[in-house]
Amino acid sequence: MQISGAQMVIEALIAEGVDTVFGYPGGAIMNVYDEIYKQDKFQHILTRHEQAAVHAAEGYSKASGKVGVSMITSGPGFTNAVTGLADAYMDSIPMVVISGQVPMSLIGTDAFQEIDAVGISRSCTKHNYLVTDANDLPRILKEAFYIARTGRPGPVHVDIPKDVTAQIAEFNYDIELDLETYKPHVKGNPRQIKKAMEAIANAKRPLFYLGGGVINSNAAYEVRELVHNTGIPAVETLMALGTLSHDDKLRVGMLGMHGSYAANMAMSETDIVIALGARFDDRVTGKLSEFAKNAAVIHVDIDPASISKLVNANYPIVGDVKNVVEEMLKLVSMVDSQNYEPWRETIENFDELHPLTFHEDTENIKPQWVIKRVGEILGDDANISTDVGQHQMWAAQFYPFTRPRQWITSGGLGTMGFGFPAAMGVKAAVPEETSINFTGDGSILMNCQELMTAVEKKLPVINIILNNNFLGMVRQWQTLFYDKRHSETDLSVQPDFVKLAEAFGGIGYRVSTKEEFDTALKDAVEKNIVAFIDVKVERFENVMPMVPSGGSLFNMMLLEKKESK
């Protein structure tokens, strides 16, 4: 059929099964918005900033496993979206971001709202396209979705000049993709898998090192089976939380800079690391030369470039985690769980020596208590998003996660302002579950305009602000490593968060006792409108334990021991 480029965009989104688009209109994308107005197959959620549109689509994607879609205009619309693109790229989130561009005849003339969008997005997307002819549009959109969700997932950016969205051309979406140069390697090499299983069987202290790739490949339940059938303990990265349930006996906890003592010690003492969809990030490894120093490394990853990038892999296996784990499960009889009993005891002892905990020794609420308390009240029923900073680490440490895709956070890029819009995306994807955003008094101001979106579109995100009047994580480093010179991190001057929420039509609570917190949370869940719960917490609480930047995992700063009451 002969239709306009703008109509093609709509038809392609419908064909891809898209039910929600997050976006913000503007001059160069108006033709497409005109077609959005005319259709009723998918909902469009108008955010109040383009960055939030992309974060919301990320949250939607992470909670649902589907490709997130956002739409923006040229120039500043696009540049505002760049942070979201970069965030999705770092955390391998499948996304298609469509931007308007000035008409072809104006490209290169410094036209109004013109920017070299594909030039900018090249380094922060998996792939990008500048569409120069509407005849290419069906193929490009189909490729964009395919590339976004296959292989190592990631954001794909499609930049469409205004005259191309007006151009009439033939639309046929029922085409075979011919991507000769893009063929992701899904199936692991069977001989290599067998060799890896032999190595595991011969090891004394094997350790699973689970990364975000487990969640991305929807392999969490297969991984649980593998962990249980082998009896091998497992550590999780920040991105993998929820793979194992928090109460799983074989779960040693999160590793890395703010990982548990047991997880980091286990990684330091293991003799074979089984890395599944993890990429040996510097926040995980600490000092590389001393990371898992005496261990052989099995590295399963769909991205060959991740393997042996930082730590040499003795058993490299390129493939989809789910596929490889299924193959490993077939060979599980090679492994005798009994052999690892002493190793499991060793790890238990680590945990008993320095368990992950905090002291309730101040009048003010401890931020960690808030996290635990939300876990007790909502637990499995809530999806947890976060911003970036101390509250994020506390949420990772103390929330009782029970399932994959329950945890939505900005790991690689560490984007403050991610949490609120992401939590809206989560709510749009799974409306029947409560969407919580743990945030700080610094982060929340970076996208608080989204109160308007949340009110308008009835996305009742509960934002729990762990308010310490500080840019807390930077303050912590200044306290520890900069001789307490708290340069520009004191946020004592701040808005009235209750009034702020109310000004947009949301609901606000100011909380300084535990009782008030319980009441506020229960009320917010009941009222079912977007909420700010401003919790006054202990100002100088540090995230502990901690591996100082560039230090070795086994050299942690630990929580001071106190006599228990």
Partner: protein, 158 residues
């Protein structure tokens, strides 16, 4: 990362489409890899182009370069050459007043010749291994070359 910096030649077959060259060069600059030289031209009768990149780095860096290149969507193949035939061309402009027969003799020794004679200048062309081109350029220094242009290396696996 700079332990044992080794010179390597990498050939990349890419779909011949808009901005593909920036994808390659952005990757090198973004990840802090070196480019000593880069040549690119379409492969006859195909939709592909061939790039020859001379780079340097440790074994790990070179391995990352090939993997990261391969990860780019329009990249069909990446060859990290071990056993290869490698050639580079150089054009040099001399004043006509220099000793032309000496220059011509030197060119002979490096697979080259005089390719243009004008009123004031002569232009020579040599094509040889990059190392030998270095030697040639050293040898002709005393004839006051006015301009030198090197093509960058091209290579084929033996």
């Amino acid at each position: 990362m700079n332990d044992n910096n080794e010179r390597r030649v990498v050939s990349v077959i890419v779909v011949n489409e808009a901005s593909v060259l920036s994808r390659i060069t952005d990757l090198f600059s973004g990840r802090g890899y070196n480019i000593t030289s880069l040549t690119v031209a379409p492969i006859p009768d195909s939709k592909y182009s061939r790039l020859t990149i001379v780079t340097s780095g440790s074994v790990r860096v070179i391995e990352q370069i090939t993997k990261q290149l391969h990860k780019l969507i329009p990249v069909l193949r990446v060859y990290e050459h071990a056993d290869l035939v490698e050639k580079e061309m150089a054009l040099v402009k001399f004043p006509i007043t220099e000793n032309i027969s000496d220059i011509s003799a030197i060119c002979d020794a490096y697979n080259g010749k005089i390719v243009n004679v004008g009123n004031d200048v002569v232009i020579t062309m040599v094509a040889d291994e990059p190392k030998r081109v270095d030697h040639y350029l050293e040898a002709i220094k005393k004839y006051n070359p006015k301009e030198i242009v090197r093509s960058g290396a091209v290579a084929l696996e033996r």
